[in-house]
Symmetry: C2
Subunit: 215 residues, 2 copies
């Protein structure tokens, strides 16, 4: 039986995507939701919208507050946190790996490991060396996966997925989709999941009727 | 005995300030917090920061999503909602009235009434006619209050409070302060209140010691 779906659009360089990435697999599983990992290039979206990079970098007052907010949010969710010395970090190759591996059983582990490199260990996340170390730490065949991730057709998929993000109205990360309903920001993850849970997917059985003394 | 304080910085034109304004007096009262109403001119803050008006107006993708999010948030909090035909609405005189009346027993009622004019009844909120109608609906002496609100010293206070907002790092509304700790956005109201509740104000008695069989 098909489960209701939630799409998780994220960029490994995005602070608030870190909060969602660390929690979403567990939450989706608790709620019986099918999770779709949707990496995209947030910087390219900002550029296409005519914004000068991340609002957190372009707007200093907002950026200053974001770092305080992230420290508080991580404490609230029990997540480790170190403010990265480089922000936002580029993450082309990790995004390509996720696209390639979106249905592999290790995709969630990989996503969390990349995020922890960035926001806990303050290490670079892009490039062969960083991604190879991440994959190897998970016991995965790094060389083989990276070679496949860098195939022209897979590179093209990341460009297309970023174009899709723009077409669907995405302007930030994380963003969640439940059908055509868009929810922006880690603060809306629970609302998106509530909506997904309320939808009976096509082809599934309706909830059982209750028979009892009350009508 | 003094109660822990929470400062609520808001603009009557701001959508997310509507969500907080409708809930904050009740929540603060439940938690035993002293609430400080802090109106300021958000548009002047945006201008001083070099932003071209509200991000929701300047960034169309973000603005489009905001209207959907507001409808959903109002449904979630059980608040009435109509998307205003003019946004963001100017609110100089209502802000001056709040400054004048910040310690009056009717200040919360006035704030909610102004917000409902804007975001439920889609009516203008600035100017003598609108403010007079709002005050009269609450059984208050409109002419007298407006005259006092428009006194030069009170006009100057609104300018000074807006300058204070900038100096304290405010870049959006609503913003909450608990001591020097700043929280941005209706989504952080509960976190700000949690912090306020955890603080024992100076001059108050410490929580009673528990005596019992356990050490």
């Amino acid at each position: 039986m098909s489960r209701p779906e939630i799409e998780f659009w994220f960029d490994f360089g995005s602070t608030y995507s870190y909060l969602s990435t660390m929690r979403i697999e567990h939450e989706a599983s608790l709620r019986g939701l099918q999770l779709r990992w949707k990496p995209f290039m947030l910087g390219a979206v900002f550029k296409a919208l005519g914004w000068h990079g991340s609002p957190f970098a372009a707007q200093t007052a907002k950026g200053r507050h974001m770092w305080k907010d992230m420290a508080r949010q991580c404490a609230k969710f029990g997540l480790a946190w170190r403010q990265p010395s480089s922000f936002p970090r580029r993450a082309v190759l990790p995004h390509r790996v996720v696209l390639l591996a979106e249905k592999e059983p290790w995709v969630a582990d990989f996503c969390r490991a990349v995020m922890e490199r960035n926001f806990v260990h303050d290490q670079d996340i892009d490039g062969t060396e960083a991604v190879s170390a991440t994959l190897t730490s998970l016991g995965l065949p790094a060389r083989e996966i990276i070679k496949a991730a860098e195939a022209p057709w897979n590179k093209q998929r990341l460009r297309e997925q970023t174009d899709d993000a723009l077409e669907r109205g995405i302007f930030g990360a994380p963003t969640f989709f439940v059908g055509d309903e868009m929810f922006w920001g880690n603060d809306r993850m629970d609302d998106a999941m509530d909506l997904a849970q309320s939808i009976v997917p096509p082809g599934s059985k309706p909830p059982p009727m209750k028979h009892g003394p009350c009508r």
